[in-house]
């Protein structure tokens, strides 16, 4: 038993810290720390900085331009980025599609698409969910019919995160409507600029435009954009869903958010004394702090197991449920800490180039928005109920 990083791992962490100190623009980390919405340009700027350092594709082997990091290095990197208030890397191309292409794509597909992911030529989004296929993803109905050298796609995708910025979408489409529902699905790469593609915004309860609906009407997609074999898409989709899991618990985000809460509770007053001296509030803070400490170690245990050659199965589900519960509780406490100043909704104050004067404490502006936005954590990526089903299936074997 040794709970400490090895000297090599500590050295790597210091390298990451030095890089973040030197290369992460204060304008970006400041926006992240204040909970402002990031513009497409903000996200692209960070993408380019990481790419210039060669640290963008943390899941890819070196031969494809990746870092070749092991799970522990990847965890350290992601954690340090979160602690430094770095923007999130947009995962769809780098973390999701990239590994699928590397595993299942043709040489031509890898040569064409992978460099374009790295240099930012393509902005990818994910076409999985449909109005009738949420948790039951395999019920998807978006149709692709082969027509000579093309597929013709008709149907609808939804919850398409940052689809408004994207020029490419990877989609699960039904190519065999007669087969059992998991067996008739294919994995198709679609140019969003093709005739017949329409993107419509979905405004979420926090007033944000983060997700979209994407409609396909007789969209012609070159057959060479099929990944792997026709009707084998479900296998690739599952591979993708279980791939990016080292940071699923988001412990770094929780640590930053808790630190923000701790600072604020130390100065906000309730009944004439700091909020962190209030018995009920301090007990809630302590509970989540302890859960988070436990989570950090649970996360490291899983990563050490994966680094030792294990495959994360049930553990990813454990991390997702525990991690999202903690993140949601911290944002909930931050909202409570604001008292009546959780109410004002100055949407302009959260824009990337905000000029609007905030109301109440400076920390209050994003708090309710983040609280409502973070309800998504236990819904997306396989809802926490689906994660429980997965664990139950693995442990009960029924």
């Amino acid at each position: 038993m040794d709970l400490n990083f090895t000297p090599e791992e500590t050295q790597f962490r210091d390298q990451v810290r030095a890089f973040l100190a030197a290369e992460l623009p204060a304008t970006l980390s400041d926006k992240v720390a204040k909970g402002k919405h990031l513009s497409k340009q903000d996200l692209q700027t960070w993408h380019d900085i990481l790419n210039a350092r060669g640290w963008l594709a943390s899941h890819w082997p070196v031969e494809y331009g990746g870092t070749g990091w092991n799970p522990i290095e990847r965890f350290i990197f992601e954690n340090e980025c979160a602690l430094a208030n770095a923007p999130r890397t947009i995962p769809f191309g780098v973390n999701m599609l990239g590994p699928v292409l590397i595993r299942y794509g043709t040489e031509a597909q890898k040569r064409h698409w992978l460099p374009r992911i790295l240099d930012g030529s393509d902005w990818w989004c994910q076409g999985y969910s449909e109005p009738g296929a949420g948790s039951d993803l395999a019920a998807l109905q978006c149709r692709a019919v082969r027509d000579g050298d093309h597929y013709v796609v008709n149907g609808q995708k939804t919850w398409t995160t940052l689809g408004q910025y994207a020029n490419m979408i990877f989609c699960l489409v039904r190519t065999d409507p007669t087969a059992k529902k998991q067996s008739g699905i294919s994995f198709l790469l679609i140019d969003m600029n093709s005739p017949g593609v329409e993107v419509r915004p979905i405004i979420t309860l926090d007033g944000a435009h983060e997700v979209n609906e994407v409609f396909f009407t007789d969209v012609r997609v070159p057959a060479e954009n099929l990944v792997g074999e026709e009707n084998q898409g479900w296998t690739y989709a599952k591979y993708l869903l279980t791939y990016e899991r080292t940071n699923i618990a988001g412990t770094g985000y929780s640590m930053v958010a808790f630190e923000r809460l701790r600072k604020y509770a130390g100065k906000a007053l309730k009944n004439g004394r700091p909020l962190d001296q209030d018995p009920l509030f301090s007990a809630r803070m302590a509970r989540v702090a302890i859960d988070l400490e436990n989570m950090k170690l649970t996360n490291l245990r899983v990563i050490a197991a994966v680094a030792g050659g294990g495959a994360p199965g049930m553990e990813s589900s454990i991390l997702k449920i525990c991690g999202t519960r903690i993140r949601q509780e911290i944002t909930s406490l931050m909202r409570r800490a604001m008292g009546p100043y959780a109410q004002p909704f100055i949407a302009d104050a959260l824009q990337s180039d905000a000029q609007a004067e905030p109301v109440g404490p400076a920390e209050a502006a994003p708090v309710s928005v983040q609280y409502f936005n973070n309800r998504k954590l236990s819904i997306y990526g396989g809802s926490n109920e689906i994660q429980r089903n997965i664990i139950a299936k693995m442990t009960l074997g029924l």
Binding site: L297, I391, A392, G397
Partner: protein, 381 residues
């Protein structure tokens, strides 16, 4: 970073686990738990010969372990088998004797390690059983002697002990950390009376009463008035032990419940097919894994010289274990339904032990408050 047990500790866990599975069956355990002695001399001896007690003490004190992970490995196995023998009193009293460190004390520790003698630790008191420090028992100097007066509450395995390590106040107020002293008191000392009783989760304890008990001056362990740091460290070892024991008991309880849900048929299918029950089982798994992390951190922290970090980790673990242990116990009974209510089912005894662990050395509320206090003010050095 490495979460593997060392080869030595794995072997210790294996041989202890094997002994308990083969020799300390549930039926045997039940007989011992309900016996007048509250433990089995024969098994205690055998476990001593296996080296299990020695693993709880360092080389310097005549053992061959004594670190947080040694304690954790042993107590996790003890928890799996619901062992009632006096391991916890041995850790607590043994550590205090070892720390006192005179040749006579180390000789006594050796007899503990060999299973020849049992010494219990008597610290908590009837007036304030929920406090860690509230000590009213007084020791006053009378020439060459100390005279001890007071009461001690729920002293585990008191009737089996040949002697007690007693905390008493030689000066100061009941709540003070300063002014506490430790004494080694023979069980047959004049003026010491005892009311023994069985415990709801098996084994026995007693209320102790000291009425003008005269002790020789060498009964004092360590320095008069300066015992708190030693007590805190011994309690820390006790916390790691209890938390690890709870972890073992939780694993077994969860496994028993899983087996039952697979096998019990209602409405024409195994209970485990019902999602309402599946998700509750998953909740237990999550809490147990989080508790496992807490125990690992506490075990690693036990030997930390940084008192703040050490005591925080210990309180975090006991809080976590208190929460998780009670949840696992209550849910396991509920998921079993009526049969979970029966004395006959082993599970119900695991549930009782898990709940009672929350009543030993401070419950979840106590340690949550202590954690909060520790994050505000530095721990005693």
């Amino acid at each position: 970073m490495n979460f593997e047990l060392t080869e030595d500790r794995r072997m210790l866990a294996d041989s202890l686990g094997r002994y308990l599975r083969e020799q300390y069956t549930f039926e045997t355990r039940q007989q011992i738990a309900a016996s007048a002695q509250g433990y089995s001399r024969q098994h205690w001896q055998a476990l001593a010969e296996l080296g299990v007690i020695g693993a709880l003490f360092s080389d310097a004190h005549g053992g061959y372990g004594g670190s947080g992970f040694d304690l954790a490995v042993v107590f996790e196995e003890l928890g799996r088998a619901l062992v009632v023998e006096p391991f916890l009193p041995t850790v607590l009293a043994g550590r205090l004797l070892a720390e006192a460190g005179a040749p006579a004390h180390l000789a006594l520790v050796n007899r503990l390690i060999e299973g020849q003698e049992i010494v219990a630790f008597a610290h908590g008191e009837p007036q304030a059983p929920l406090d860690a420090v509230h000590v009213c028992t007084r020791a006053t100097r009378a020439g060459e002697h100390w005279v001890l007066t007071g009461q001690k509450a729920v002293v585990w395995h008191a009737e089996a002990a040949s002697a007690f390590v007693i905390s008493a106040r030689t000066c100061g107020q009941p709540e003070d950390h300063g002014g506490l002293s430790l004494f080694l008191v023979p069980a047959d000392a004049a003026g010491l009376s005892m009311r023994g009783y069985p415990l709801i989760d098996g084994g026995r304890a007693a209320e102790l009463s000291f009425d003008q008990v005269r002790l020789r001056s060498d009964a004092l362990l360590g320095r008069a008035g300066g015992a708190w740091p030693a007590i805190e460290r011994a309690l820390g070892a006790g916390l790691v032990a209890l938390c690890a024991e709870a972890l073992g008991a939780m694993d077994t309880t969860r496994q028993m419940t899983l087996d039952y849900l697979r096998q019990r048929q209602q409405f024409g299918q195994p209970l485990g097919r019902f999602q309402a029950l599946q998700h509750r089982m998953v909740e237990l798994l999550l809490e147990i894994e989080q508790a496992r992390s807490a125990v690992i951190r506490a075990a690693a922290a036990l030997d930390d010289e940084d008192a703040q970090a050490r005591e925080q980790a210990l309180s975090m673990a006991k809080y976590t274990i208190g929460q998780a242990g009670c949840l696992v116990a209550e849910e396991a009974i509920q998921l079993h339904g009526g049969i979970g209510m029966t004395w006959e089912l082993p599970l119900s005894h695991y549930a009782k032990r898990l709940i009672m662990i929350d009543h030993q050395l401070g419950d979840a509320d106590f340690h949550l408050q202590r954690y909060i206090d520790l994050t505000r003010t530095p721990a005693t050095p």
